[in-house]
Symmetry: C2
């Protein structure tokens, strides 16, 4: 009975929300959304328009937008994404365009990924270090292809205080040229190899194309690994070991299916030998997104920076190098793939709150008993190793809280009301599919383990189904163009010629952006002899994924 | 017998080292030391002079400097410090003056401190976030006192690629002005308080006075906490809670005694209400060093950035704010305090290798048995939770290895030779005091726990004794000047007037730098009525530490 009453009020609440009649005392999405426009300058001075809270006072109702999202994922993906990042408290727009504030709700996800990846690379005997943020121009420009790739995006410091610097100093867009002069110094003999270093840091790429939270920002956080080996075989092996860790971050932690493969010559890392990547796909926009990259740099940088060693026989050799990185972009891909019209959907493995416990008091029921049960439940869950929190705020209704935690994407909600108390049970509600199950208190810990595991798996499965439904195998240019129009991730036989990829780009240029190769998957379907390239009609050498991308 | 032979060879080796006759294939201190001069420009191109290793080939001997340090701590502290940082592989000098590379040996110490501090602040419900590196000039200059303090050191980005930016953008020297516009936005009602955020990041202060590794560098790593409360009491409490964590970092982890106290008005944080700090002291140079600071900002920034809230009664209030930070400077203080003429001395709690196990093969002894015993010992120690490593390099003598690990400051060395094997024991040698003890294998784990604990405690005790011996209580200006000449940390009764501190600075200006107040210790000795200020002769209000400082 009390449950159906709650459900009724919830329905009413939702209606009210969509009519924007109920205040959200903690945030004013409309106010934030102003920041989404291209002119962010109005964000830094918000004194005049700053609304104040008072637990949802009536006179403020009109100023505020409701708790729900104003944009729908399928209708206007770009606005939906910005809104869910901001309203879900992952991101705050900053007064410098293309820079974003990572709020604790996002930062904790980054930290969870770090706490997986960092020990894994330490097991491989890779050590952490920290190189400076600044690069001198002479060093930055040493490797021609490399600097060509990055030069337009480099930010330059030219002044300190009121004085001009003698020489402008660059901010690292990546640290190959920062580090390798010292690799040259440190590496003398074969016993100094392998040299395997990593750093967690910020980098700056002053891009002018559409900035997007997490996905394309002018400053971002990442790890960058830089290693040197005596042989190509060792370098090749590491490239794949690291790529596998990146796959695990996406598939095991973020519940996002990715494709492992090799980048084309056009798309590889500037100055490197070859680039491998994990590629994700965003069905709503029909765009691929490069998830993380593991590059074999070959001996190109070693030549430029004179990184040589003496082998066992006293002969001089040149090292083989790799570099590899994943960034806060991972978080953006997660938001895009799993989020829905109610807000964020966080996979349990990375959610900083996995379970929220909400009291559902009712008329004359034993309110104190309910609150105590909530606190005890949280305690039990924390002891069992879950990240759980009770929401005992007394100025919000249960329904309001449900919506609030749905917006923030918490994987599982527990409701405790009078009947639950009487029956020694709790009601669980899943964020991913809305399924409601009553769980006896006595089975809580075991049952919730199952449920969270199932949510994690289900998020992956659903994402994979959607992604797979977007994959289209084509063999001709006409099929390719049609599939591109349908926002597909296109698998096509290709002659693997740079000129042909440039041609594909030129022929597909348009408002939506040109198509390019995403990767040639390691897992290659059979390529019957005589298969022709979809674009050039020459003999095909491999299957390659194509599409628009971020 | 074999032991005395080893000792003999070791003595010979040490002699040889000091005569620079034996090559160190891994490094060439002389080559590095070039970098210590004011002109670092020659560091980026070292092709011509790069020596190659070959396990210590004779023909290279003359090119190389020995393994020992060329400078002594008591004779030339500055050069000794630079050399021990570089030869101990903590730091590499970088081709931009004032920037340094933190090598894994230093980075691991930073990470150990993080792994203490980060969970501690999370227990206080402080959450991690990440704000941008860049600040727009309008925001940076909002708080007048604050920007006056930092303006001369701010680095400005004025170009991206080849284009000039419309408005120059500053790089954060600290993040008060970066963060607080958003605190204004996020804080509406009393329920949004306290807001307690922290970030781990890099900051840039383009100082022109003597750069020194760790201690004074143009970019450094730190954590910065920024919190807002409804009441001053809460803010005051947190200031001290955080300061206590800083004390624990120094005393419990780095084994360095510090004094907790309050900064003078002249020395407090620019724009803040009051500053507390932990102050360390370097006996060799007679300089105090501000170890870490915990500031109460009062309501000054809240006023400037309009950070207000509505309380329970619907009244408007202004928040009380704190900010607090410790940086990689901590590592420099540790090197300065504990290092000796053999190299670094690392406290066990922060050493990334706590115990190094070195085989001491001898003539016809069972070499394989000895090597196996080393590996087994390391395994046993690792299982017991120690950070242990075996040094089985076959191209170095045991004596060479002893010196190498002493240079790197590893707290405890285990030697295993034929007699140890026969007696089922190992020999342990302490880095801090050189004490040698034979330990039965059966008691290894327990005994080593005792030993490492004792090393940790002994390092602290010795440092405290030396520091205490430098403290001089004075009451008159004459005594003060004399004590300053003797490089003391001076405790003097003070009238607590800003003008008087400026006067002390002016009167002590000289080649060594002026004296200033370090802190007024919380632990105040009795101040008998009628005690006069050492500098002004006015009635003294408190005891304050004075001295030169970093």
């Amino acid at each position: 009975m009390w449950r159906s009453t709650i459900t009724n009020s919830l329905n009413k609440l939702n209606q009210a929300l969509s009519n924007s009649l109920i205040a959200h005392p903690h945030k004013s999405p409309r106010n934030f959304i102003r920041g989404f426009s291209l002119n962010y300058s109005d964000m830094s001075d918000n004194k005049g328009s700053k609304p104040k809270s008072g637990g949802g006072k009536k006179k403020e109702v009109k100023k505020e937008t409701g708790l729900g999202l104003t944009h729908k994922k399928d209708d206007n993906f770009g606005e939906w994404y910005s809104e869910v990042c901001v309203s879900g408290e992952m991101i705050e727009y900053y007064d410098i365009s293309g820079c974003y504030i990572l709020r604790p709700w996002a930062m904790s996800i980054w930290e969870t990924m770090q706490s997986f990846f960092d020990p894994e690379i330490k097991k491989l005997n890779i050590k952490n270090c920290y190189f400076p943020l600044f690069v001198s121009p002479g060093v930055l420009e040493k490797e021609k292809d490399h600097i060509e790739g990055f030069a337009p995006e480099v930010a330059w410091v030219t002044k300190s205080g009121k004085s001009d610097l003698e020489v402008p100093i660059a901010i690292r867009p990546t640290s190959e040229t920062v580090m390798y002069p010292y690799y040259s110094k440190w590496i003398r003999g074969h016993r100094d190899l392998p040299l395997r270093l990593n750093q967690w840091c910020n980098v700056v790429r002053w891009e002018f194309s559409n900035p997007t939270p997490f996905i394309r920002s002018r400053e971002f956080l990442w790890q960058e690994g830089h290693t040197a080996f005596a042989t190509k075989e060792e370098a090749d092996t590491e490239v794949l070991e690291i790529l596998e860790l990146y796959r695990r971050i996406y598939e095991e932690y973020l519940a996002i299916p990715v494709i492992k493969g090799k980048k084309s010559e056009n798309e590889k890392f500037a100055g490197g030998l070859y680039t491998t990547s994990v590629e994700a796909f965003i069905p709503n926009t029909g765009r691929g997104v490069q998830g993380a990259t593991s590059h074999c740099l070959g001996q190109n940088f070693a030549k430029m920076f004179d990184i040589t060693f003496e082998n066992e026989k006293g002969e001089k050799g040149m090292v083989w190098q790799n570099s590899w990185a994943y960034s806060t972009r991972t978080i953006g891909v997660m938001v895009m793939v799993h989020g829905d019209d109610k807000g964020l959907v966080l996979p349990p493995k990375v959610a900083s709150v996995q379970i929220v416990v909400i009291p559902v008091p009712f008329k004359d029921a034993d309110t104190k008993g309910i609150y105590d049960a909530c606190l005890n439940t949280v305690e039990t869950l924390k002891e069992a190793g879950y990240r759980a929190e009770a929401d005992l705020r007394d100025n919000y209704s249960p329904g309001w809280k449900y919506s609030d935690w749905e917006l923030k994407g918490v994987p599982l909600r527990i409701e405790i009301g009078p009947r639950d108390l009487a029956n020694k049970q709790v009601r669980t509600v899943r964020r991913d599919n809305g399924a409601k199950v009553d769980v006896p208190m006595s089975q809580l810990v075991d049952k919730l383990k199952e449920t969270l595991d199932d949510i994690q798996q289900n998020l992956f499965n659903v994402a994979k189904e959607k992604r797979d439904a977007c994959i289209k195998v084509v063999k001709t240019w006409e099929e390719f163009v049609e599939a591109l129009g349908q926002k597909k991730m296109i698998l096509a036989p290709w002659c693997d010629e740079e000129e042909v990829e440039r041609d594909v780009k030129a022929r597909t240029k348009g408002e939506m952006g040109a198509a390019k190769s995403l990767c040639s998957p390691f897992d290659q379907p059979e390529l019957p002899e005589g298969t022709l390239c979809f674009a050039s009609g020459k003999p095909a050498k491999k299957w390659t994924y194509w599409g628009r991308s971020y």
